[in-house]
């Protein structure tokens, strides 16, 4: 998988593409952790180009979500249909904030 990092003002953006599965988890977990530790409490994980996700990758998202809560920050996810359907299957859409695109995710931070 490929992980790209960007910054938009004080918002960190992580763009993932390809498969997001167990083999990728430790790398992604580590990157997200340091972005959350060092960032301004605003993070977008853009998975619009993720073709497949498994439960171990969901655990990485949960860990990032919990890390953000500890910092009173905010995490917004952008999902592909494969990601969205697994998140719904595991009922995680009830806790994650999900936005239809990176643009709407970024503007969500302006709103409040």
């Amino acid at each position: 998988m490929i992980l790209l990092e960007q910054k938009h003002n004080d918002i960190n953006i992580v763009e993932l593409s390809g498969r997001f599965a167990m083999a990728d988890c430790s790398d992604v977990r580590e990157r997200l952790k340091s972005l959350i530790d060092e960032g301004q409490g605003k993070l977008v994980i853009d998975m619009a180009k993720v073709s497949f996700i498994d439960s171990s990758a969901c655990a990485v998202l949960i860990s990032a979500f919990k890390g953000m809560q500890l910092k009173s920050g905010r995490l917004v996810l952008v999902t592909s249909s494969a990601v969205q359907s697994l998140i719904e299957l595991t009922r995680l859409h009830t806790i994650f904030e999900i936005s239809p695109s990176q643009v709407t995710a970024l503007s969500a931070f302006d709103e409040r």
Binding site: R19, A21, M22, A23, F52, D54, S55, S56, C58, A59, I62, S63, F65, K66, A82, S85, L86, L89, T90, R91, L92, T94, I95
Partner: protein, 163 residues
């Protein structure tokens, strides 16, 4: 209109070693096989998901995350369903975990929920192979002395999804 090759029963056996980086290519191959058999992206995604969760479990739990052990995935196209047998030679499960969702913030425990949701049926079998050696000795009291030993075992998780 004729349709060739739809009633035939096909088998493709795939083997990987118990390394996490082998799960992704295996998953892509299984998806392609299911797409070939059904033409349905949805169906293929469901089976792909279940197989990846099951194989992740084998690596993590049956083989305690140790590389170098065989995982065999037998893909069977039957008349009205696909059957996938996943075989390992590691730690056996004593019971099948209940397919229930954990607390929302738990960072594990969703595998069987996904497997159960994506398939019609699944079951798990532990096969024990044993070898019996009997030594017959002349001039002994009871005619022979016997030695028995269990040689090996395999665990087979069978996943079934109807067309």
């Amino acid at each position: 209109m004729i349709i060739t090759n739809k009633q035939t029963i096909n088998v493709v056996t795939l083997k990987i070693t118990s390394a996490v980086n082998c799960v992704s290519p295996l998953g892509e191959a299984i998806k392609a096989l299911c797409l070939y058999a059904t033409g349905s992206e949805c169906y293929a995604l469901d089976v792909h998901r279940a197989v990846v969760e099951a194989v992740n479990n084998v690596i993590l739990h049956a083989y305690s995350n140790q590389d170098g052990h065989d995982i065999i995935v037998e893909w069977n196209q039957e008349k009205d369903s696909l059957r996938i047998d996943i075989t390992d030679y590691g730690l056996s499960m004593q019971t099948l975990p209940d397919p229930v969702l954990p607390e929302f913030d738990a960072e594990s425990g969703r595998g069987w929920w996904i497997i159960n949701s994506c398939l019609d049926e699944y079951y798990y079998k532990v096969v024990e192979y044993s070898q019996t050696n009997k030594f017959y000795k002349p001039n002994s009291d009871n005619g022979y002395s016997e030695e028995f030993m269990v040689k090996s075992h395999s665990n087979v998780l069978t996943l079934i999804k109807h067309f």
